[in-house]
């Protein structure tokens, strides 16, 4: 029974990892852009939420709205003003620039919020749970996280495959050079992709703030989990990213069940095993 429980908890944890990963997956899919500051953006969103709710006493619902709007505008502007300049055939400049951003963000957070590890009190969400059996119960927060992850992936899937915007995003992913011949503006389309990714980053950050302790240096580890989920699932596949998150989550909780110290290691080992067995991931699109 403890194993079943570990699996159930792992699946739910996987929702959080899928949320970490979805934005990364989208940006890579549309722009072949690897954002090394992705984890730091998530942590920044978490701090923003924390500051709004505990620092300024704003109602959580408004805080959520504000965080998402702030992330959306910051994402769009960051792409237009900074990142579009380094996009190109060469993969190295974006990597260098976002690596620099990552360091700047971590130090700025350290300056403003100190190195103390923090967590956002989620009130009743923290304690409410549904009892499934004698030894298995599902916490309200993990369940909400998982539902949010499925909802986010489904929404992204819908935008991508059912709307004119998604058509433009896929076309840009295929062949950006001739998109202007269709009346599309690459700089704007890229920025819209980053805007969508940033809203997901905001959602991920809000859940991170409630789920675990975090500190200014927590970004790189979230980036690593996000990378692993994307690679396990297969590049360019959104449902694959959800699957990747779930597999990573289950691997970690089963590892933790064996020995509390094995949680992170087990996740990495499963990631490596899948990378060896299926280098293109489980549901590859590209």
């Amino acid at each position: 029974m403890v194993w079943v429980n570990a699996i159930v908890q792992g699946v739910l944890l996987g929702g959080l990892y899928a949320l970490f990963a979805a934005g990364l997956s989208l940006m890579f899919g549309v722009m072949r852009f690897v954002n090394l500051a992705h984890g730091d953006f998530i942590v920044t969103a978490a701090y923003l939420m924390l500051a709004l709710v505990t620092g300024f006493g704003i109602h959580p619902a408004f805080a959520v709205l504000f965080v998402l709007m702030a992330l959306a505008s910051a994402g769009y502007l960051n792409q237009r003003i900074l990142l579009n300049r380094v996009l190109g055939a060469d993969l190295l400049p974006p990597v260098l620039v976002t690596f620099g951003l990552s360091i700047i963000i971590q130090n700025a957070l350290l300056e403003v919020f100190s190195a103390d590890s923090r967590r956002l009190n989620a009130g009743w969400l923290d304690t409410a749970s549904f009892r499934l059996s004698e030894d298995i119960s599902i916490g309200a927060l993990p369940l909400l996280m998982f539902v949010a992850a499925v909802g986010v992936i489904a929404a992204m899937q819908f935008i991508f495959y059912r709307t004119a915007l998604g058509r433009m995003l896929r076309a840009t992913s295929d062949d950006p050079e001739i998109v202007p011949l269709m009346g599309g503006n690459n700089a704007h389309i890229f920025a819209i992709a980053t805007l969508i990714a940033s809203v997901v980053v905001g959602i991920a950050g809000i859940f991170l703030a409630m789920k675990t302790n975090f500190d200014p240096a927590a970004g790189p580890a979230r980036l690593l989990f996000a990378f692993e989920a994307v690679i396990i699932g297969g590049l360019g596949s959104l449902w694959g990213t959800l699957l990747g998150g779930v597999i990573l989550g289950v691997a970690q909780t089963i590892g933790a069940q064996i020995d509390a110290g094995y949680q992170i290691l087990a996740g990495h080992l499963v990631f490596l095993a899948i990378l060896v067995a299926r280098p293109r991931g489980l549901l590859p699109k590209m």
Partner: protein, 240 residues
């Protein structure tokens, strides 16, 4: 006849390499004009320069009464200039119908719609949910033309639409030309096949090494003139 497109002494560069040297081309309203020339003559470069894919800042390109040189390519497209690019360049992850729909992204009003394109190329109806790249070469070319038409262009640029296709298929595709003109669209085709160019166009321009070496209505050009303009008049001894 009113002038639709006019370039004056157009030059184009790839880095330090100059590909066009002072090209003057005009296309009148309602005309079908052909560009011919050997490989590397600069025909595609000319199309890239007027569509904004290659920077032409500070030069003279007027289109439909507006100066378009230096405008971003998406703005030029919205002004009514559409291109069927060399090699078709369909979007592989889009279906045939999505490839057509994306051509209409600029939002220009006019006679073309999905139904009209399917009417022009009935072969595409059965394939509309296939990926664009799963079609035969001729059908892919039809999608590329339909995609450009969906923007209701004033001027349609076609870069080597017959390349690599069977004669029967080429004939089918060129049969669409009169119907495209009926919709009020002028046409500029780039053709390697001189006979085809002469048959379809009211005026031809011959390019060689980045310059216009000959132009005029097909009826007024002799075979010898065209051969000279196409391959150059220099013999090997003179060139050496």
């Amino acid at each position: 006849m009113t002038t639709l497109l006019e370039t004056r002494a157009l030059e184009a560069f790839y880095g330090d390499f100059q590909a066009l040297f002072g090209v003057d081309v005009t296309v009148g309203e309602g005309e079908t004009v052909a560009l011919i020339g050997a490989n590397g003559a600069g025909k595609s470069t000319f199309l890239r320069a007027i569509t904004g894919l290659l920077p032409a800042k500070g030069q003279k390109v007027s289109f439909d009464g507006q100066e378009i040189a230096g405008l971003p390519a998406d703005r030029i497209h919205k002004a009514g200039l559409a291109m069927v690019p060399e090699g078709r360049r369909l979007f592989p992850s889009l279906t045939v119908e999505e490839n057509l729909l994306i051509g209409a992204s600029g939002g220009r009003k006019g006679p073309w719609s999905l139904a009209k394109v399917y009417d022009l190329f009935p072969d595409l109806v059965a394939k509309k949910n296939n990926p664009g790249t799963a079609l035969s070469g001729g059908q892919q070319q039809m999608v590329a033309i339909g995609r450009a038409l969906m923007s209701n262009p004033r001027l349609l640029l076609c870069d080597e639409i017959s390349l690599g296709l069977a004669p029967k298929v080429i004939k089918d595709i060129y049969e669409a030309v009169p119907r495209i003109r009926e919709g009020g669209t002028s046409i500029l085709v780039v053709e390697q096949d001189v006979g085809q160019a002469m048959a379809v166009a009211s005026r031809v321009y011959c390019f060689m090494e980045g310059r216009v070496t000959l132009s005029g209505p097909p009826g007024e050009l002799t075979r010898a003139e065209i051969a000279a303009a196409y391959f150059g008049t220099k013999t090997d001894e003179e060139a050496a």
